[in-house]
Symmetry: none
Subunit: 300 residues, 2 copies
DNA sequence: AAATTTTTGAAATTTAATTGACAGCCCGAT
DNA sequence: ATCGGGCTGTCAATTAAATTTCAAAAATTT
C-alpha cells in the first residue's frame, strides 16, 4: 500500500504491533503477544498491571510504546481508548475466522476448521484410561520399545522416536524398508512393545509385521484412523484419529497431537523417577555436544 | 425484591446506570449522561479527565461509583475493562472440554486447549498473501527444492519431503547430519529454494547453512516459532508458529498444520497443470508398486 | 425566613503510576 | 575463551491520580 509510514496514522495499534513484530526484542514480543491476545482490553489497565501479566518490567512497556511512536504510555492508552469507541460501534463478527484477514473459503481457514473438528471428534471418543495405560507401558523401561510407520506415517514414527530416545533407553525406529524387518522380529518377545502407525491406505507389510509380532506375544500399540486398520483386531491398545481434511490425502495432526500428549506425560513419569547419576536424557545431551558444529570447518 | 442486589453482579454497568438514574443527584446525573453517551470508552480514562469532561468534581465521580457498590474508581474501571474484553474477545470454544470423560486438568484436555490457542494466535498473525506466495514458489518446478530441519523438526522436514516428492520433481531432503551439507550447498544458486525448519533451541549449524545459502542467492522459506530463529532476518518468507504446550518441550502441531495446508494447495496447483503423459505422482506410484511386499517372502 | 440536611467542589493527603538512570546479563563477534 | 553492544530489570525520583477532609453552596424542612 502507498505510504507505510504515512498510513501509520490510520493504522490500528493492533496492526502496528503485528506489522512491526519482527523488529521487536524478546521481551517486547512477549508483551506484544499478551496485548494481542485479548486486544484491546488487555492494554487498558495500568502499565504496572500490564507489565506484571506479561512478565516484563514496566520500563519495557514504556519503551515499547515509545518505539511505536507515542510520547508515553498515557498517550498510547488514550489512542487505545479511542479505538474501543470506534470498534464497538461497528460490531462485525470477524472472530469466527481463524485467519482474520483471509476469506472464510481460504484453505487456511478451511484447514483449521477441519482440524478443530477432527480433534473434537477424536477426543470425544478417546478413553483417558486407555491413554493413561499406554503411557504407563511406554514409560516402563523394562520393555523394549520399537516404533514403525507406513509410507506417510513414517514421519510420525520418526518424531516419536526422536523424543522417546531422549527420555528412555531401549528404543528402536524400524525404518520403512521392510526388508530389514524380519531381522528385528526374530528378536522380539512378550516383553516387547511395538508402536505402529497405520492410516489408510493400510499397508500389507505393516499388517503382516503386526500379525507376526502378535504371534510372538508382542504388545501392539496402534495409531490409526477412524475406520481402523486391519491391525486393530490384534492391537493391545488403539488410538483412532479423525484425519479428514480438505485435501487429496489425510492429516497427521490428530495422531501427532495425541502423540505429543503421550510423550509429555511419559516424560513427566520418567523424569521424577529416582535415577542413579545421569538420567538418560542428560547422557544424550552429553553425546550431542560432541556431534555439533561440523559446518564450522567449512565456513571458516 | 430479592433480585436487586443479587442481580447487580450480572448487570452491566450501563444497565445499572440506567436503572438507578432517577435516584441520582443533579451532578451525578450529569456525569452519568456523559458516561452513557460514549459507553464504555468514556469511562476508561482517568477520574480527573472524566470529571472535567462532565463538569463535575472528582469526588463526585468517586462517590457515584461507590454508590453503585464499587470500592473505588479503580475497581469500577476494572469491571468496565472486563466488559470490553467480554464484548470484543473471541468466544470460540472457551469453556469447551475436548475429551468429555476426562477432567479439565487431564493432560489431554490441557494439550488440546494449548494447541487450539496456538492455532488461533498463529493464524491471526499469518499473512495469507505470504502463504499464497510461498505456495506459488513451491509449486514452481523450475526451482529445485531442498528441505532441512533441526534435531526435532527433522520429522517435519521428512513429512514435507514425503509429500512434496509425490507432487513435484527435484525435491531433496538434507539429512540432519551437517557433515554432508557443504556438498549440497556448492551446487545451489539463485534458482534454488531452501525450506528450513528451525524452532528453539535454534541450531548454529542451521544458521550457518542459511547464511551461506543466502549469500548464494538461494530463496529461504523458514518455519520457526513465535520468537523467531536468527534465520528470520535473511529468510524470504517466514511462518512464525506458536508452539508452547504444557510440556517440557515444544509442539510441532502448528507448523505441521500450516505445512499440510501448503501441501494441499500446492498439490491443487500442480495437479491441474496440463502435463504430458504421466503426472509426477503417477510415475511415483508406479515405482512404488515394485518395492512393495518384501515381507511376503519372509512370511510365506 | 431560619435552621437543617444534603450536595458539591477546592484543597490536602495519600496512594499509585510513570519515567529516567544505572547495572547486570545475555548474545553474538573476534 | 574473552570482549563489546544492546537488551532488560531494579531502584529511585518525579509526576499524576485517587481519595479523604472540610467548608461553602444549594436544597429542603420547619
Amino acid at each position: 500500500m502507498w505510504g507505510d509510514k504515512l498510513s501509520e496514522g490510520i493504522m490500528s495499534i493492533k496492526e502496528q504491533l503485528q506489522n512491526r513484530f519482527d523488529e521487536l526484542t524478546r521481551a517486547e514480543k512477549q508483551l506484544t503477544q499478551l496485548l494481542l491476545q485479548n486486544y484491546p482490553a488487555s492494554g487498558l489497565g495500568s502499565i504496572t498491571d500490564l507489565a506484571k501479566r506479561s512478565r516484563v518490567s514496566t520500563p519495557t512497556v514504556a519503551r515499547l510504546v515509545q518505539k511505536l511512536g507515542y510520547t508515553g504510555f498515557p498517550q498510547f492508552q488514550s489512542v487505545l481508548r479511542a479505538e474501543v469507541g470506534a470498534e464497538l460501534s461497528n460490531p462485525i463478527d470477524k472472530y469466527n475466522k481463524w485467519a482474520e484477514h483471509a476469506p472464510d473459503e481460504h484453505i487456511l481457514n478451511r484447514f483449521a476448521d477441519s482440524v478443530s473438528k477432527n480433534v473434537r471428534q477424536t477426543f470425544s471418543r478417546l478413553q483417558t484410561e486407555e491413554f493413561d495405560e499406554v503411557c504407563a507401558l511406554l514409560a516402563n523401561t523394562d520393555h523394549r520399545l520399537t516404533i514403525v510407520g507406513g509410507r506417510i506415517s513414517r514421519s510420525l514414527a520418526d518424531y516419536m522416536f526422536t523424543h522417546m530416545q531422549v527420555i528412555r533407553p531401549r528404543v528402536t525406529h524400524m525404518t520403512s524398508n521392510s526388508n530389514a524387518w524380519p531381522h528385528y522380529l526374530l528378536d522380539m518377545n512378550k516383553d516387547d512393545i511395538l508402536v505402529i502407525f497405520d492410516v489408510r491406505r493400510y499397508e500389507n507389510d505393516l499388517r503382516r509385521l503386526a500379525e507376526m509380532a502378535h504371534e510372538r506375544g508382542v504388545k501392539i500399540i496402534l495409531f490409526t484412523d477412524q475406520w481402523g486398520s486391519p491391525i486393530s483386531k490384534i492391537a493391545a491398545h488403539k488410538f483412532s484419529c479423525h484425519i479428514e481434511v480438505p485435501s487429496a490425502w489425510d492429516s497427521s495432526i490428530v495422531p501427532m497431537l495425541i502423540l505429543e500428549a503421550l510423550i509429555a506425560k511419559c516424560k513427566k513419569r520418567i523424569g521424577i523417577k529416582p535415577g542413579a547419576g545421569l538420567t538418560h536424557w542428560q547422557a544424550c545431551l552429553t553425546v550431542r555436544a560432541y556431534s555439533e558444529s561440523s559446518l564450522r570447518a567449512f565456513s571458516g
